[in-house]
């Protein structure tokens, strides 16, 4: 059973429980849900569009080619690519696995995976909308810095 299925079942059960307890509160909850959904939709459309664009211009085959450079600038490039690309785990981990098998360095792969997860340049518009610019900027910059540190340490430890 996929995680989405579990999510739907849990949501549906909680909604049914809420409805049986208090219909007014449940209606209010659904109203809040709809409002936040319709508010996020325009930004979301932009974000999915950007994800499509980035993946068309930088497909996994192209991403693989940048892993051959093992210098520090090369590492920064790998982290930058990780920061702008957004891919689901079921694409990212097989890619990471094949990169390691193809001889890419542990440091580079760890930097890529960590920035992929922690830094989101494409999702920044949505993050700013919710939490503001100082929050988004500091969280992403720290994520980028830590990704490099984690990658370098992993190169020594793994």
């Amino acid at each position: 059973m996929s995680f989405t299925t579990v999510l739907f079942i849990v949501t549906f059960l909680l909604l049914a429980l809420s409805w049986s307890r208090d219909k007014q509160k449940t209606k209010k909850a659904l109203k809040i849900a709809w409002k936040s959904f319709s508010n996020l939709l325009p930004t979301m459309l932009g974000i999915v569009g950007m994800m499509g664009l980035v993946l068309a211009v930088l497909p996994p085959e192209v991403i693989k080619t940048i892993f051959s450079d093992r210098s520090i600038p090369g590492l920064i490039l790998v982290s930058l690519v990780g920061s702008i690309t957004l891919m689901p785990a079921f694409v990212a981990f097989p890619l990471a696995g094949s990169l390691l098998k193809a001889g890419a360095g542990v440091t580079a792969v760890a930097c890529f995976i960590t920035t992929l997860m922690m830094v989101g340049i494409i999702t920044a518009p949505a993050e700013i909308k919710y939490f503001g610019k100082p929050f988004t900027l500091s969280r992403n910059v720290l994520g980028f810095g830590f990704a490099l540190v984690i990658g370098l340490l992993m190169g020594v430890l793994v």
């Binding site: 999915v48 689901p88 909308k129």
Partner: protein, 183 residues
């Protein structure tokens, strides 16, 4: 009207770029549009239930409960709860934004919200199982062990940074409440 167009600015930019890519004749424009559409479908599958959960959280979870468990004085317990809840999550990081926002609105400490988002992004339990399968347990475990302190540090530094870049009377909750007004 202008506000409405502004909301769709990023989307319009993407459409223009897709068109430009298409006209350049590389065939990548269609790929980009198709991939974007696939992601949209995927997103439409999990964003609605998450929004419903956020709505339910808003009406059922009392403010004092959030404050007590992950609020200002929650300390180590608050950090642990944020990590536990974040690691049980589903979906990519941006699905966590509305949830963290709802928590902030209810009195969650800013650092804990960042820790929650960081855990959501990097150490979701279903994702770890996939990671172990493809890159091996050693890579996965060492990455986890190094990522956790990074996430916690990020939480407190972001909190400090946000506090310093805002007038002193504006805390995390008020920033979030303001974001909510634009809804």
């Amino acid at each position: 009207m202008i506000m409405r167009v502004r909301k769709y600015a990023l989307f319009l930019l993407v459409v223009l770029l897709d068109l430009g890519l298409h006209l350049s004749g590389s065939g990548k424009g269609a790929v980009a549009a198709q991939t974007g559409f696939d992601y949209l479908i995927e997103m439409l599958l999990f964003i609605p239930p998450i929004m419903v959960l956020v709505g339910l959280l808003d009406v059922w979870v009392p403010r004092h409960m959030v404050e007590k468990n992950v609020g200002q004085g929650s300390g180590l317990k608050g950090i642990l709860i944020s990590i536990l809840v974040g690691s049980a999550a589903a979906g990519p990081l941006y699905a966590g934004f509305p949830v963290a926002d709802a928590m902030l609105k209810k009195g969650c400490r800013l650092a804990n919200a960042v820790i929650f988002l960081g855990t959501w992004a990097t150490i979701k339990i279903p994702m770890i199982m996939m990671e172990v399968r493809f890159v091996g347990w050693k890579f996965a475990l060492v990455r986890l062990a190094l990522t956790l302190p990074a996430i916690i540090t990020t939480g407190f530094v972001v909190e400090k940074f946000v506090e310093n870049s805002n007038p002193p009377n504006r805390t995390g909750q008020q920033i979030s409440a303001k974001a909510w007004e634009t809804v």
